[in-house]
């Protein structure tokens, strides 16, 4: 019904500077995804920012854990993990290609004090999952930039 295998995305740029720290897991994954297309080189060394055609500014990269529900004796039974990522894409000269854009994701996780060690591991699994989701959404948005 009209579906065709996806073609390789075209990017309007070949070099991108990312403000994400080289050690940040999200930065590593974004770099891998972009470079796996074979069309974009990621620069993360701030001294070489002038070699980049476009700059990805990370305005917010925030993780939150809030109580979602309590049982009738006041104990937490569910948490919500939230990831909020706000970024902007501009040319080196300052022309805004993607205005400040927010990608907000959330996952619910059940909780029990006795199982806190297991929940610790499950939490990092869910954050990794959200992180991959964020990277996929950024990739789609970067590919939608038609010209510099």
């Amino acid at each position: 019904c009209g579906f065709a295998l996806r073609k390789a995305p075209n990017f309007a740029f070949t070099t991108l500077y990312s403000g994400l720290a080289e050690s940040s897991p999200l930065g590593v994954e974004l770099r891998r995804s972009l470079e796996s297309t074979g069309k974009v080189k990621v620069i993360s060394d701030a001294r070489r920012i002038n070699d980049a055609q476009v700059v990805l500014d990370v305005l917010q990269d925030q993780r939150e854990k809030v109580v979602l529900s309590l049982n009738s004796s006041g104990q937490v039974r569910e948490f919500q993990l939230r990831l909020r990522f706000v970024f902007r894409l501009r040319t080196l000269a300052g022309k805004e290609l993607i205005p400040a854009t927010e990608i907000a994701l959330q996952r619910d996780i059940s909780f029990n004090e006795s199982a806190v060690l297991a929940k610790e591991a499950e939490e990092s699994l869910l954050y990794r999952d959200m992180q991959s989701d964020v990277v996929q959404q950024i990739m789609r948005r970067l590919a939608a930039v038609k010209e510099l």
Binding site: A4, R6, S69, G74, E113, S114, A118, E122, L125, R141
Partner: protein, 795 residues
Amino acid sequence: RLAMLATLGLAAAGPGHAQAPAGAESAAAAPPLALKSTPMLAEGVSKAPEDEGPTFVFGDRISGRPDLETVIEGNAELRRGATSMRADRIEYYQPDDQLKSTGHVRINNAGNRFEGPELQLKLDRFEGFFTTPRYSFLQNGGNGQAERVDFIDDKHLTAHRATYTTCERNNEESWKPAWELTATRVDFDLDQEVGVATGAVVRFKDVPILAFPKVSFPLSDKRKSGLLPPTLGLSSLNGFEIRQPYYFDIAPNRDATFSPAVMSKRGVDLAGEFRYLEPTYRGQVSANVLPGDKLRGRDRWSYSLQHVGAIDTGVSAIGGVGLNLNLNKVSDNDYWRDFPLTTGQVTQRLLTQDASLSWGKGYFSSSVRALKWQTLQDVSSPIIPPYDRLPQLTAAYTRVDAPLLGLGSGFDWSAEADFTRFSADQNLTKQPNGSRAFSRLQVSRPWLAPWGYITPKVQLHASSYQFDSPLANGATSASRVVPTFSLDGGLQFERDASYFGRSFTQTLEPRAFYVRTPYRDQSYLPNYDSGVNSFNFATVFTENAFVGNDRISDANLLTLGVTSRLLDPATGAEAVRLGIAQRLRFDDQRVSLPALGTTPVPGALPVTDRVSDLLVGASVNWVPQWTFDSTVQYNPKIRQSELASIGVRYNPGNYRTVSAAFRRQRNISEQIDVGWQWPINDLWGDKGQDLGAGRGQGGGRYYSVGRLNYSTLEKKLVDAVVGIEYDGCCWIGRVVLQRSQNSTATASTRILFQLEMVGFSRIGSSPLETLKSNVPRYQYLRDKISPPSRFTTYD
């Protein structure tokens, strides 16, 4: 200046209009000036044009003698740099740079304005005095009047017998500010942007509410030492309570807050917090002590320390070592109940003492960790304590897209090892403490293309246990090796589509995930850190049904899923996402978790279903104001949802947000959760002004804010915070009602009142800080905003 007065002398008669091109001779020698564009008017005032730039004077009559004096009479006006002055009469004596203005004197210095009958000033140094002036400052609109103001220089002045408020003055004679500080003396430092009042009394609506021998307050939004808004509270537990926090701005990267409180039923509570931020580390320490708590007849205390950072070992071969600390402790088991929400811990009955060191180089990483829990026990709802890790040692070697043993490149592979000593109270856990060592080898080879991927992966999990006391089968040690094979593959299809008059790129992403793990009997092993995965889109595509390392599930199953998204072709934004997934099991899963004490746990039974529950997820972001998110785990056999969560949020603008969610775990809980912030004035059609975030919506407006958590199974409100905020422009009043459950039968309720005098106490702090984390998109009525331009008060 010489030039100016000479010119004045010549133009002594008639309406004067004089200008002196200072340094005209040197300018002639310089190359001709070329015009340059500037994006905006210069906000900063450099000193140079003041001293060297021209001075303009205007007036009905100008008279004087060259080099001695100038007298301007009638609508007199003098301007130089960012300073302008108007008066009935201005006299200027040049030899001693003395200026004297009388009659309706108004002076505007870089946006700060003074107005009164008489001013004497040394113009260059901006030193002198003003009698009975009114004044207003640009930065935060702070204003007042004084018997006399002494100018020390253009950034420092002292007001005697002065008043100060941030309420905006109108032109009516009967005007009275909503709140006002009166002091025998106020020292304003416009450079540091602080005022220091001596002998100060603060009145709200003419009622004195606070008095200080000496108090400092900020003159801008910048972080400054000063009072934070006090909070008055009333609750069955504490009785009447008043808390007055004070903020210390120690350095740009360090601050502290000290907040003492008096509780009528309990005593004096002292709380403090210190935060630091350095290039390689950051953290915060907070502590709280209530000596001789009358409620429990003992001292109550708590502390909390968080530190994240790196330590430079100084050895170049080693480099930096990461240090993480999260230490929390409270004095007794009842602490969480008597001090709700003060520990800053989300799980109030479980506090961590967690310290870890980590080190990595290249592909290698390792860590040492000590984790100890403080479990606050309660007879009515005891907690089986989680295990302490004392210590945990880990090491891992991870390669990505690397060659492997002559098999070619493109492999992701890793080897990890972990040794942990687990201990907890054996009387409560009913299983022996012990040590566990495990290693895990993983090799995968992803083939990636824009249209799809396939990843085969093998894992080998080997573990050995050493127990402090024998297991039920008499063994004091055990070991286990479990191999796992998995194959993950997906395709990506795309097409152009159009729905409801909007065109999209629609994707279709099928995914299949096969896992094969042979059965190994693990039922005799204790469970230290394993738990069953919640069933969701992240866990359904993982190999092990359990998290943690004590149970590795046997599997011969295939997970099938498909996701479809609608993407805006112009921006790539995701408007709709629909996902569905299900597991097909070819063999029973026999590995299960042991029961926890006497309570059954999820995952404690073998899984024999051939077809799992159906997982369906949908999220819609059709327009930015609306978001809809839902996940349902549907059990086809009983035709009911096992798990459902449906949430919707409407956020049409600043200070307007409503979110509602329904969550259900079959036979366990069913809750409705509502959170909101909304201007009440909307009800009678008063929409307010759109001033942007952090400025409110204009004065005289009420806002409602809150979160309610209602259990439909128990027909009971489990958790409630409801508040009303009133924005009176220069003050904000808050009433917050908070009710939290602290046992099945009892709940504590308290009501808090707060008065924030905008611009006097620092902004951004309130008892609603809990709301900030609870109500999605709650916004402060006042937040840090950029200061106004000096040209907004141009005279």
